[in-house]
């Protein structure tokens, strides 16, 4: 009975809480176009002054990495500990390093 009716497409919403901070993913809304998506994001996600700037992007335009590939993508970074400052032994008396 449920005939395939078209629904308003899904958009992901990113909000900058204050200037100086990055935009952060907060959730999604439905809208027919970008203008409406901004309005809906504003009306839903900034009711309590949560933001000063909004990005919206069609959910279908996001490419996400595959969790199945997480090991291949992210684990090789694990043993490169020399990328972190704590890897290097510097005597305490040496300052400003």
């Amino acid at each position: 009975m449920s005939q395939q009716r078209k629904q308003w497409p899904l958009w992901e919403v990113f909000i900058r809480a204050r200037s100086g901070l990055e935009h952060k993913h907060v959730g999604s809304i439905h809208a027919v176009d970008a203008r409406m998506a901004i309005e809906h994001a504003r009306d839903l996600y900034t009711r309590r002054q949560e933001g000063v700037s909004i990005w919206v992007v069609r959910s279908s335009d996001i490419t996400a990495s595959d969790p199945g590939e997480a090991e291949a993508l992210f684990e090789p970074a694990k043993d490169k500990i020399y990328r972190h400052p704590t890897f290097y032994a510097i005597p305490d008396e040496v300052k400003n390093l």
Binding site: W8, I29, H30, A31, V32, R35, M36, E39, H40, R42, D43, L44, R47
Partner: protein
């Protein structure tokens, strides 16, 4: 009720400021009340939220203006006394805003015509000789810009959407257009307020309003209805039957339980 020169010379009397504040405040209040009827019943959840946001802005304006009116009147009447204990004939809101919601098309047209008017009004009201009006206008102008963005967006979407939506929004426009003439007409508190430097001359708002409205209607492929000589004005306390019904509902608690605190 017409502007007699004798009153105008008492520039910005308390009595005039009271009448001007209730004119603007009642208009915001009654529209907020109408929008409140939508909450929980809108065409999409997103629109429930949008309409509630606009209602809250308008209600905020109304509270500011009615509190101020009560203050300036000096009889100890609060915003609630003015909202809930005045009779329909004491209200001076534009008749446009008391018109029923009918459907989303009518609601959007009503909102759009009012938003476009408030844009011009608040822009100019910022220069009011009364700081309280100027302050309200500066805040309300920002709110109105968003309301206008929302309602104009929907007028275009519905006008240029499907055949059904086009017909419905055109019907709303045809039904409501006659109520726009009072926005710019003389013979009420706003004209006197203009003479006293409290607010803009209502007639002066028309050109920009019309240009704006016509442009949006054109984009929306809608036809601007012809102007008709409609002269029953809410701002002169000449209301349609809808207001008393609206108030009967809105004022029910305060009328039923006089003197109680809520």
């Amino acid at each position: 009720m017409s502007a007699s020169p004798a009153i105008v010379t008492h520039s910005a009397s308390a009595e005039l400021r009271f009448r001007y504040a209730t004119y603007l405040g009642d208009t915001s209040l009654i529209l907020a009340q109408r929008l409140g009827e939508w909450v929980g019943h809108a065409p999409a959840l997103e629109e429930d939220l949008a309409l509630a946001n606009i209602a809250l802005d308008l209600l905020g304006q109304a509270r500011y203006l009615l509190s101020y009116a009560g203050e300036i009147e000096g009889k100890g009447r609060s915003e609630d006394d003015l909202a809930f204990l005045r009779d329909p004939s004491d209200f001076s809101n534009l008749a446009l805003v008391e018109q029923p919601n009918v459907d989303f098309g009518h609601t959007i047209v009503r909102q759009f015509l009012l938003d476009a008017w408030q844009l011009e009004l608040f822009e100019k009201l910022q220069a009011s000789s009364e700081p309280r009006f100027a302050e309200l206008a500066a805040k309300a102008l920002k709110e109105t810009r968003y309301h206008y963005r929302f309602s104009a967006g929907w007028v275009v979407r519905l006008g240029d959407g499907t055949e059904e939506s086009h017909n419905r929004v055109q019907a709303g426009l045809d039904a409501l257009w006659r109520f726009t003439s009072e926005m710019f007409a003389p013979g009420a508190a706003d004209e006197e307020a203009a003479a006293a430097g409290l607010g803009p001359d209502p007639a002066s708002l028309r050109a920009a309003w019309l240009a704006n409205v016509e442009q949006v209607l054109q984009t929306a492929t809608l036809k601007r209805p012809a102007d008709v000589p409609f002269r029953w004005f809410g701002k002169r306390h000449q209301h349609t039957d809808h207001l008393s019904h609206l108030l009967a509902e809105m004022q029910f608690m305060q009328r039923t339980y006089p003197g109680a605190q809520w």
